[in-house]
Symmetry: C2
């Protein structure tokens, strides 16, 4: 496995591969890799000739009061895990190489990026879309793998790919959970033992909504209230948002929809976690 830091070097390598017919797959990450990321790498390995894992804690997607500085960084370990999962290349650029002094163009995202996490984290998806666009161009990827845990991110990237005619297939990969149901996230390591237990309310509340749905409940308001009730019963948890939305537009689901996404963000202690469930 090769570790590359220079965007220009990686683009050269990827372009040479591309023009000789190689299918490049990319897994964009911020590192601190867990099983969720590794399931993306394995999916890429199954479907592509050259698998590139990018590891870059992207400053433009963090707000001024967010956890950019303390975000976990573990490149050596990430490289070992990536290789074991089938990566051919780990690309770990510097912020200075990705955002040189004269840098000035961004992706201006639209309505998909405005609600849910976009409302809680202004500018977040502008940063995500911009760095993903750059990473797709550097890696020349034909296939790009994104986890469904970050469902809004997935939709934002899918829409950007469509709007900009990007020559890439965006491949969604199901959320990977711990044995007790907590969705894997690099931010789970911020949790104390008590918070770790409290964090189970995210998945539990979604399970409850799935049961209501299975019993025939189709009212977005009732579904949302049920989820909110479970979370509010946990003293260490504070709801950021709970929303029942259309899975394509991410706008509030219409009464009686036959496909909805329940998306939520919950703050446990000082750690903001997200999860979601598609009901159909």
């Amino acid at each position: 496995m090769r570790l590359v830091h220079s965007p220009a070097e990686l683009q050269r390598l990827a372009s040479e591969a591309l023009v000789s017919g190689t299918i490049v797959g990319v897994v964009p990450t911020m590192g601190a890799l867990h099983e969720g990321h590794l399931s993306l790498v394995r999916a890429a390995r199954d479907e592509c000739d050259l698998v590139i894992v990018t590891v870059f804690v992207n400053p433009t997607q963090f707000g001024p009061s967010e956890d950019l500085d303390k975000y976990p960084r573990s490149l050596e370990q990430d490289a070992i895990l990536s290789e074991a999962a089938g990566a051919d290349v780990v690309f770990a650029p510097s912020a200075a190489d990705m955002y040189p002094a004269e840098f000035q163009n961004y992706v201006e995202t639209g309505p998909l990026a405005e609600r849910l996490c976009g409302a809680s984290r202004p500018g977040h998806f502008r940063g995500v879309a911009t760095v993903v666009l750059k990473l797709l161009n550097v890696t020349r990827a034909a296939r790009a793998y994104f986890g469904e845990k970050d469902y809004q991110q997935l939709r934002v990237i899918q829409q950007m790919a469509s709007d900009f005619n990007l020559p890439v297939e965006v491949v969604p990969v199901p959320t990977v959970r711990e044995a007790d149901g907590l969705a894997m996230s690099s931010r789970n390591r911020y949790l104390s033992a008590d918070e770790r237990k409290a964090a189970l309310v995210l998945n539990q509340s979604l399970d409850l909504a799935a049961e209501s749905w299975a019993r025939g409940e189709r009212g977005p308001e009732a579904l949302g209230e049920g989820v909110r009730g479970v979370i509010e019963s946990e003293p260490l948890a504070r709801v950021d948002y709970v929303e029942v939305v259309d899975p394509v537009t991410l706008l509030p689901a219409a009464e009686g929809s036959t496909r909805v996404l329940i998306a939520l963000a919950v703050v446990i202690g000082a750690t903001r976690l997200i999860d979601n469930r598609l009901l159909a």
Copy 2:
């Protein structure tokens, strides 16, 4: 020569060419082709294996009070001229195919796009950058040709290519002029006979500045005042802007700079024309 309307069809065709080692060159145009455009096509022909001329009057780069509806359209003639200059493909998509209903992502341009024409035409370069990004992705071009007449556009595209790590070389091509010095432009056909004569002040004023420069004048203010004086002596001409700027940043040139760009926009009757001169 092939005429293609569908973005998906062209992207398929271009991708097949790319993965077998073909160098694709693109000349993005709004049609109404003149010798300026054709010099771009010939440059692409000299350097590329597959030459694609795009013909698309891009609605997102026109302001609400601008000439989108009356902008000249002449696809049949454009296809004939493109073929004669060496194009392999003319790509002429519909606005509905380029901007479907759910379209929502744009390029957010930076300081390079704010002054000069960006100040007179708010949102213009956001539309230009967005459509060029799309066209580069659809055509998979390794080389993209832009005329120096639209100097700010050239800089905006160069910076976008750099910022987004686009796998393309942006190739500048010198301005082509009529025998009497008027820079070729599709908008020249809006001019009446009297206006056509009056329009010579653009190039004449720049010639005068070049003479001052050759005599040693290095003061941006003096150079700009000279240009402005020539244009204001023409009753049919109204200055939109005359600016003496750094050719890279497009910010006002410092006193004593050894390389400046004089950029100007002048309204002749109801037609807004631009021109520029690099002095070094």
